[in-house]
Amino acid sequence: MAALELGAVSVAFGGLRAVDDLTCSVAKGAIKGIIGPNGAGKTTLFNAISGITAPDRGRIILDGVDITTMRPHRRAGLGLARTFQNLQLFAGMSLLENVMIGAHTRLHAGWAAGLFGLSRAEEQRAEALARDKLGLLGLEARAAELAGNLGFADAKLLEIARALASEPRLLLLDEPIAGVPPVDQNRIADVIRTVNASGVTIVLVEHNMRVVMNVCHDILVMNHGARLAEGEPASVARNPEVIAAYLGAGATHA
């Protein structure tokens, strides 16, 4: 069984078909790259998978469960986690609290337990888990700072730490590397490999070809919402249509 199956998924905004009849599957344990020019529908596809945008047609199957009409928080409960390209951090909360929100589905205390302070032990476990994930991304020393005070690169790292805190089965990373300095690029690539080695299936939308080619097991190339090509990194990079539509002459050096 695939970790994720998309069956003829379409998402339209008015007349624009952002995702157009896309069928695709992500094997369990894989790192799948999705590349394509800006406006190819990559983020819209992520929004459809995580439930923020409802698809107009098609089926989305997560680990054999049809999640097409499921609300976003239910999908998270099934082991789906994501980061946001446009950064959706909780600016007024500390880094630690941001990551602890990521662990929300791992915790159980409700309102009554919260009001009467009956969840101390669980809170301590959540905090330890969150500190562990912050450490993985090199942010542990800044745990008490407000997320709103972070620079762009650190905010991207925090997005990843927060998504990891749910210990997901399927992790969607939306441009985790774009705009990050090289030293952090390598750290993120290492984290992606480590997390994948622990059994997490990953879908990676990214423009940085060096990282995509090095990290991904296979790649889907999108253009105008549809599949242009799909396969191993080397074969995709050689595909003349892909080179013409997206990679261009410069990318052959990557």
Binding site: R71, H73, H104, G114, L146, S166
Partner: protein, 305 residues
């Protein structure tokens, strides 16, 4: 009324206002939703416990519980449709709901006494002890206020409180992390209404009288203003808000309705210059000697944030 009793009854009203504003601050300051019906829920609490005690002879402890449940249930009914949608539909729905409640308080004359009000509500009595003087009632109101502040401190440091703040920060991100935004907002709204229900019950039994104009739309608006003046989303904000709401009308008693002018000017000052209200100013003053780093640490503290 003796001078001491006057001060004690002001103290009682301070704690009643703290319940109203503290509950509202959870919805507005932490949950990011505007509720314009806190005055209405205050009235639900007052009339439920008042009518039960006066017309049906229900023991006051039971009546207070019914007042809390009644207000929370009203919030459930109004929140169920309004909070499913993203955005500030709650403000519009609660605005209408407060108007409906005002009509009911005025028109259900056989129950509420209509515009003349409900008079002769007995004081709260528990196991033969009657809270029938300002001195006795003060401790009851104090305990209710202290209990609310303790519950809020624990809630805000817990999974549920964190989820509520996350929903206010980014509903999309919170939902993607597994938080159900609807349930989170609904629970906060119901809790805040329950606080108003308790406040209403205490008010009715202390005042031994309740009339519709106390619970109308303008009370709801003033309570929103008090949340903002005290410090939107600050743990201690409602304490300042309740102090202002209690003291300013008393100080300006000689000048009819002058407090509205003071509150209006205060609101403008807060909106323009002090977005974090009195609580924000006092935090900044305390933080000054230790420098900016300490200020940011304090700001990130679970309760102060």
């Amino acid at each position: 009324m003796a001078g001491n009793d006057y001060v004690l009854s002001l103290g009682v009203f301070f704690f009643i206002n703290l319940l109203l504003i503290g509950g509202l601050n959870l919805v507005m300051g932490y949950g990011g939703q505007i509720s314009l019906c806190q005055g209405g829920f205050f009235g639900v609490g007052a009339y439920v416990s008042g009518v039960l005690a006066l017309k049906y002879g229900v023991p006051s402890a039971l009546g207070v519980c019914a007042a809390i449940a009644g207000a929370a249930l009203s919030a459930f009914v109004i929140g169920l449709p309004a909070l499913r949608l993203r955005g500030n539909y709650l403000a519009m729905a609660t605005l209408g709901f407060n108007a409906i409640l005002s009509v009911l308080f005025n028109e259900l004359v056989s129950l509420t006494g209509g515009p003349n009000g409900l008079s002769g509500i007995p004081p709260i009595g528990v196991a033969g002890f009657a809270f029938d003087s300002p001195g006795r009632f003060f401790w009851l109101a104090w305990a209710a206020g202290a209990l609310l502040m303790a519950l809020l401190a624990m809630l805000l440091a817990s999974r549920a409180g964190r989820a509520l703040r996350a929903v206010a920060g980014s509903e999309v991100a919170a939902a993607s992390m597994g938080v159900d935004p609807f349930r989170s907002k609904l629970a906060a709204f119901m809790f805040s209404a329950a606080c108003a229900g308790l406040a209403g019950a205490l008010y009715a039994h202390f005042n031994q009288y309740a009339s519709p104009e106390t619970f109308n739309f303008s009370t709801s608006v003033l309570l929103v203003v008090m949340v903002a003046l005290g410090g939107w989303g600050h743990y201690w904000g409602p304490v300042f808000g309740a102090a202002l709401f209690t003291a300013v009308p008393e100080l300006l008693r000689r000048f009819q309705d002058a407090e509205l002018l003071v509150f209006g000017v205060g609101m403008i000052v807060v909106l323009l210059f002090l977005p974090s209200g009195v609580a924000g100013v006092s935090e900044r003053i305390r933080a000054r000697p230790a420098g900016r780093r300490a200020a940011s640490l304090r700001a990130s503290g679970r309760i102060g944030g």
